[in-house]
């Protein structure tokens, strides 16, 4: 299992789906571990009742069906399926509405879904998902990207209330890829994934949604920044180590162009 995770850490992020299915066939007895530890690009389904798209993940799956956060229905339909309690469903509905606005303000498009369920120790777990296609044929407003995908998975475990405080544990994963392509610079592609955790004890006076939302906003900002500054920066540093830029571009002597 450790070796399998070692392979996933090195293999190209764009090939993680192929790599995972290969590992699943080599290590069938580790399949649940692999599926829970390896993040995969998010899939989307259309909720026929609301006409809206929603995101699929382990947290809204029951058997082979996935529950839509919009209509609370499973597709394909499923009898005796699991649903959150009505109280939690109320928070889930509100979270989906607010998170869609948050998503629109930061992403100018994309799809979002929030799922909640009760956990074993009197608290609950919430999963906030965002998927954005930023390519020029998708929802990239500026049209710079030949290909561009951003998948965010935020899972928050909320502990039981104690003296009007609750413990929040957020685990966030961002998977992204972007490719630009033009005549003069060829194809330029960056892709990757990072995962981070954040723990906080917060007063529940402002409500769970406010607390979770703030944590996610802070985390997304941090992750975006470290991808941009640290991760992309390191690959740029590497390029400049391989071939240091010289200030003066040497021009072709005109005689050679004759």
């Amino acid at each position: 299992m450790e070796a399998a995770m070692g392979l996933m850490r090195r293999i190209h992020p764009k090939q993680s789906e192929t790599a995972l299915s290969a590992l699943l066939s080599l290590l069938p007895h580790h399949s649940s571990d692999l599926l829970s530890q390896v993040d995969q690009p998010l899939q989307v389904l259309c909720d026929l009742e609301s006409g809206k798209e929603y995101i699929l993940c382990e947290y809204n799956r029951d058997a082979d069906s996935y529950r839509s956060p919009w209509s609370n229905k499973y597709y394909p339909p499923l009898e005796d399926a699991l649903y959150p309690s009505s109280e939690l469903r109320k928070l889930e509905v509100e979270a989906n509405e607010v998170f869609a606005i948050y998503r629109d303000q930061y992403y100018e498009g994309g799809i979002s879904s929030v799922y909640m369920w009760e956990d074993d120790n009197e608290g609950f777990v919430a999963c906030f998902l965002i998927k954005k296609d930023g390519s020029k044929t998708g929802q990239g407003r500026r049209g710079h990207l030949q290909e561009g995908a951003w998948d965010a998975i935020h899972v928050i475990e909320v502990g039981p209330e104690e003296e009007s405080m609750a413990h929040y544990c957020l685990t966030s994963t961002i998977m992204l890829s972007l490719t630009t392509n033009d005549e003069s610079s060829g194809t330029f592609s960056l892709s990757g994934s990072i995962r981070r955790q954040m723990n906080m004890d917060l007063s529940v006076a402002d409500g769970h949604l406010c607390n979770m939302g703030k944590m996610i906003e802070e985390m997304e900002g941090k992750l975006r920044n470290s991808l941009d500054q640290v991760y992309f920066g390191k690959t740029k540093e590497m390029v400049c180590t391989l071939r240091p830029p010289s200030e003066v571009v040497l021009r072709l002597p005109t005689a050679d162009l004759a």
Partner: protein, 303 residues
């Protein structure tokens, strides 16, 4: 039946093993191999896959191996491959015997006469090699290069066309900093006697991998074309080296421009740094959204 299943299984396993090895990032095949071996838990399948995959990987990555007598280095490419494990080093007129899986050069032998180019071709090749060496030394801190004749090596004198390939490979592995990278340039030069022209084509490929608490990879690729006139060997060499220097420097600039466009333009199409409102999201006051929505509904302008 059970036996058939088992055979199929082995074939599939071997394919998976080869896939992992061939898709190893630059400089990381040995790490992939180690993990793969323990995942497979089947040395027979692993060894068969490794035998095939390492040779392909080594050649496509232009890996560079030290000669056993420490007299220099030899590149492993499909352009100087004499046999599965024999690679020509035209600069020293030696042939390196290579162990693909261990990625070492185990032995060397002098070249046979028929493996070398004719003296006429060799004059062009040597002149170009000297110019490229100069250029690579000034542009790449750790660059290795070589010039191979891939067409017309037996041409004895003026009147026939021939073709060279220039390979430049620069690798930097720094696993302690969780970072590896490679720059590969492949230039083909067609010497067209009949039209007195040299046609030059370049394929530049750059990769970098940073994997401290994450996994981020850069893949960049660029192709370019140019031409110059057919001249004496030394003049051809200078022209070609200038063309390469010019295009590679331009490409590096384009790469830097791609990086500097990231924060404010390219990346913005995925996620903005700040919301369109330019202030943090009002989590304290999300009630306003449902109020607005209710009003919109009442006014009948709900989307």
């Amino acid at each position: 039946m059970a036996e058939g299943d088992c055979e199929l299984n082995e074939k599939r396993k071997r394919e998976i093993a080869k896939w992992f090895l061939l898709n190893s990032p630059a400089g990381e095949i040995q790490y992939i191999a180690k993990d793969l071996r323990s995942v497979l838990n089947d040395d027979k399948v692993y060894n068969e896959a490794a035998l095939e995959a390492f040779a392909l990987y080594n050649k496509s990555h232009f890996i560079c191996l030290e000669l056993p007598d420490r007299s220099g280095e030899v590149l492993v490419t499909s352009y100087n491959e004499l046999d599965e494990d024999e690679f020509l080093d035209p600069r020293t007129a030696q042939v390196a015997i290579v162990d693909h899986v261990k990625q070492v050069c185990t032995d060397m032998r002098p070249t046979a006469d028929e493996e070398l180019s004719s003296p006429y071709i060799e004059e062009f090749r040597c002149a170009l090699d000297a110019e490229i060496l100069k250029y690579v030394a000034e542009a790449y801190p750790k660059g290795i290069c070589s010039v191979y004749c891939v067409k017309g090596k037996d041409v004895e004198g003026p009147g026939s066309n021939f073709e060279f390939v220039v390979v430049i490979s620069a690798v930097r592995n720094s696993p302690q900093n969780f970072c590896n990278g490679s720059w590969r340039s492949l230039w083909s030069i067609e010497f067209k006697e009949d039209v007195q022209m040299l046609e030059v084509g370049g394929e530049l490929q750059v990769g970098a991998h940073y994997f401290e608490e994450g996994n981020v990879q850069l893949d960049a690729k660029h192709e370019c074309k140019d031409a110059t006139i057919f001249q004496a060997p030394e003049d051809c060499a200078i022209s070609i080296a200038n063309i390469m220097r010019h295009h590679e420097a331009q490409y590096l600039e384009a790469l830097e421009a791609s990086y500097s466009n990231l924060p404010d333009t390219t990346f913005k199409d995925l996620r903005r740094k700040l919301p369109v409102t330019r202030t943090l999201f009002p989590w304290h006051n999300t009630l306003q959204f449902s109020l607005t929505r209710d009003i919109q509904k009442e006014l009948g302008i709900d989307k």
